[in-house]
């Protein structure tokens, strides 16, 4: 186990190193911005993998945390723009168009960047804590968790679009200033932003990895496999599940903030149902129970989507191809690409007994599932 663990750390470190060294090879700033975007989406996928793959909570509303993070960052950056049209006290332009006279109280604290950074992570965590307490105390499980989180996402999205005077409605928040931290200005097309994303991703990957290897992480995986047995051992399952949901929401909020910096705007599509389901797709393709697998899944799939949709030949068929790949992955590779690479590694090293153990666990899970269905 320790040998396997060391290999895992080495693989994670290698991938992070590649990501961090990439700017030395790539001179193209535009491409760098693109890749920074994929890295952020990778971070988002990792956050879902943490609660879906490790705690068994299929959160279909992961984009809600992402969107809130994104809006928090956009709000503070919006207040720093050198505006073309503003009202009294640097009122954002869209508020002027919507006849808002004074800055709404919700916006006032966002004059401070520190507050915005804290809110971008804190608000999603608080919301997740509330949702987790609400769901898991009532022992809502399985499919119903998926429905509730999806409904929460739709409600959030509707409210943001509806409150046009305060959120910019469909248009979102555009014309943002550049983020300045510790005297560094983060230009979306500069290396600084790329490094910001890469370092955040590296840090988050290792923090999440540490969490999954801690005792708490072990209990979460036990909850995923046999919730009732863990309960009989005397653990407060609701507590652990809420915790997983919160941590995952925090990482998603961080990803959302970075996304605003990279994309230079925030939009209601960042907390839309299509994005949220895409995150699930990325995780499934990469391997839901592997943090690195989910991250790479997001980078690969989102990258492929972008490349394919730009080619003339695939302009109209790429969604078709993506859909087909996805269905095939769900059918034949339930553990995703990470599972595939593990299986290949297992073939190469037949003597390793742990492969047998993990097979046994899968079999037991398959038997236990019909019970969950009821």
């Amino acid at each position: 186990m320790t040998k396997r663990g060391n290999i895992q750390i080495a693989v994670y470190a290698f991938v992070c190193l590649v990501i961090l060294l990439l700017p030395f090879v790539l001179g193209n700033d535009y491409l760098l911005n693109r890749i920074a975007r994929y890295l952020v989406l990778g971070l988002l996928a990792m956050s879902l993998s943490l609660c879906w793959g490790y705690a068994g909570i299929l959160n279909l509303g992961q984009a809600l945390s992402f969107g809130i993070g994104s809006y928090c960052m956009a709000m503070t950056l919006k207040l720093r723009t050198v505006p073309v049209q503003t009202g009294a006290g640097g009122l954002p332009d869209f508020m002027v168009w919507n006849n808002v006279e004074t800055l709404p109280w919700l916006w006032v604290p966002f004059h401070s960047t520190t507050f915005a950074l804290l809110a971008g992570i804190g608000v999603p965590v608080l919301l997740a804590a509330l949702l987790g307490w609400f769901m898991f105390k009532g022992r809502v499980t399985g499919v119903y968790v998926a429905i509730i989180t999806l409904a929460a996402l739709v409600v959030g999205n509707l409210l943001v679009i509806d409150a046009q005077a305060y959120t910019g409605g469909f248009n979102g928040l555009t014309d943002l200033a550049q983020l300045e931290l510790f005297g560094i200005t983060f230009d979306a097309y500069g290396r600084s932003t790329y490094y910001l994303c890469a370092i955040c991703l590296t840090f988050s990957l290792f923090a999440a990895l540490a969490l999954t290897r801690s005792k708490t992480g072990l209990i979460l995986q036990a909850v995923r496999d046999q919730e009732n047995r863990v309960r009989y051992f005397g653990y407060d399952v609701a507590h652990y599940k809420s915790f997983a949901l919160c941590v995952s929401a925090g990482f998603a909020g961080l990803a959302g903030m970075l996304y605003t910096v990279v994309m230079e705007f925030a939009s209601p599509t960042f907390m839309g149902v299509p994005l949220s389901l895409s995150v699930v797709v990325w995780c499934a393709v990469g391997g839901r129970s592997s943090l690195l697998g989910a991250t790479l899944g997001a980078i690969i799939v989102a990258g492929m989507q972008n490349v394919l949709s730009e080619q003339r030949a695939f302009l109209e068929t790429w969604t078709l191809i993506m859909g087909a790949i996805f269905v095939l992955v769900v059918l034949f590779l339930p553990k995703g690409l990470a599972g595939l690479s593990e299986a290949i590694a297992g073939r190469l090293d037949r003597s390793r007994p742990s492969a047998l153990v993990s097979d046994a666990v899968t079999v037991e899970k398959n038997i236990a599932l019909p019970e969950v269905r009821r």
Binding site: G138, G142, I147, A151, V154, L158, E316, R373
Partner: protein, 289 residues
Amino acid sequence: MDFVAQQLLTGLSIGSILLLIALGLAIIYGTMGVINLAHGEFVMLGAYAAWALQSFAGIGLLPSLPLIFIIVAAFGWGIERLVIRHLYRRPLDTILATWGIGVMLQQIVRLLAGGELRYVQLPPSLSRPVTIFGQEIASFRVFIFFGVAALFALTWLLINRTSQGMRLRAVVQDPAIASCFGINADRVYAVTFAYGAGLAGLAGALVAPLKSVSPEMGTTYVVDAFMVVVVGGVQSLFGAVVSAALLGEASGVLGFLSNDTVAKAAVLLAVVVLIRFRPQGLFAARGRA
């Protein structure tokens, strides 16, 4: 009084369409535990079938209904055989797989029929308004209301009064024991899925003249229909009727009191709270939990 009647009729009209779409979903989810996110796309296929039959073959909406049912049901049967069949042991994965299928169907239709909006004409015999309780209402909406009632009655009879329905109920209770008694569970699942898909197709065909037909039309329906099923209780057909009426009236009334967005958000929140306290739905079938 006029106002109340108007609201009531609007709510009933929304509710009957909701029920029509939810009925197929309720059968598939309630009996097989499969969350079919491609259900909205089956609705969309039905609408496109109605459009294609009308504009290429010149068949009016009413005569083409049986044909549409068969086409979409056959489609559903194929999907069940190819994909869903492999996922009965992994119910959460059906969400993912059916979502992928939905994306593909949307794109296929977009490639074949074009992304622009299509329109289906009302049957001429049903285009005049009728007066109920002193309120004028489109006769096609009344037709949908009674059509849904008939389809519901038919479905209930099929499940509760035929041998095929009995096999289905046996398989739902215990697939293994049912198989021991010589019931081909595989086939029962396939037929059920096809029937649910066919109902969705009919729903699409009936909704088509009221709204424009587009490849994305299904996505808006599937969430609402799912809420109907969850609120009604998974294995209760009558629960679906009551919850469709309830949700229809609720969105009608709330939509009048505030705007549509807030109405939708409020209804969703109410559903979330309901799931938390009664995950079995308002009208859960009694018996083994």
